[in-house]
Symmetry: C2
Subunit: 178 residues, 2 copies
DNA sequence: TGAAAATAGTAAGGCGGCTAACTATAATTG
DNA sequence: CAATTATAGTTAGCCGCCTTACTATTTTCA
């Protein structure tokens, strides 16, 4: 699997070289960082593979879910960008591909000439309807080896992590909406 | 921050719609998946921002570290691809940019006409030398609010996660080397 | 009401992943 | 030794993310 982090053997040599060279080399912190990054990539990778079963990505899936389950919401690219926390340029790209694949349609908004109304097409609707049960069944399977106590253990650790890590991500320069 | 996962409010509505529609909707699993994904993205995001201070990415940093700390290794694109767990095409891209930026040089390998020897340039060496102390100082700072017990708690949770999630990522089709 | 400002959407171009297909060189083997 | 096969590296092209810059429309407000 992709990781960008050297394997155990190389890492060991690397760290020993670094510890001679960097004053107060914080072995635990570096090791934890490597573990965190690998674990994060692994998680994302798992879901990427999962969605790839249907030719989807996280972003494509998110858009389809919103259009399918909240159709009364009169979705536009900007609304989708807000709801999924990506830039509107990213939504343009996702919508381009979803529309090329015949899953969604763009229509002029009746009230506002700047807006575009996004809707699931007939085949898009059928597609989502078909994948939803499989998707949620599989998601449920992922954790079938964990008991409630273990799930809580993971949730607690994530919460702890979040509290520590958020301060580090203070200055946000990206063009997210809202 | 980017997430591709709807915010709390939208998620709540979404889940309630889904639970009416999907038999045995596993609320806990879906919620945990969302939390895992968000946490993973946040972690990766933190390190991306961190490396961006020096115009680096995880991949660029990994390559620079290997060339700098293990120069006796006679690095080639394939070796870097193995060591960093990405495809050789990805290494070509990273090497292109690092070399464009003047940090590394490509040289014909003396023994094997197919190979390319990669080395840090003078300025690359200076650059790495300058960033290393800052980098490791900041990495150490990230966890300064955690005590040993909390670090252990996170490590244990990551290990647990890994055990659960690895089975899901069985079939790997990508062109990784080795 | 007419000019300025805000908003919606897209396009162009960059980065970092990927695959597939290609060239060149080396190694193997019949 | 010649032919096949394996290896090293690059290229081309796709996806999803980003920023910047643009057009078109709407809203605001002097």
């Amino acid at each position: 699997m992709k990781s960008l982090i050297p394997n155990e053997a190389i890492r060991r040599i690397l760290f020993s070289k670094l510890s001679e060279q960097v004053p107060n080399f914080d072995f635990a912190a570096v090791q934890l960082s490597a573990q965190l990054l690998m674990s994060s990539q692994q998680t994302i990778h798992l879901f990427e593979n999962h969605f790839a079963q249907w030719g989807l990505s996280q972003g494509r899936f998110a858009i389809l879910m919103l259009l399918y389950n909240l159709p009364e919401n009169d979705w536009t690219p900007v609304k989708l960008a807000e709801a999924t926390c990506v830039t509107k340029a990213t939504v343009t790209g996702l919508v381009n591909n979803l529309s090329r694949d015949g899953y969604i349609t763009r229509q002029q908004h009746p009230d506002d000439g700047r807006k575009i109304s996004l809707r699931l097409s007939e085949s898009g609707e059928q597609f989502v309807q078909g994948m939803i049960p499989q998707h949620f069944e599989q998601i449920s399977q992922i954790y079938s080896n964990l008991d409630g106590q273990q799930i809580k253990q993971i949730c607690d650790a994530l919460t702890l992590l979040q509290q520590v890590i958020i301060p580090g991500a203070e200055k946000e320069t990206k063009q997210y909406i809202e």
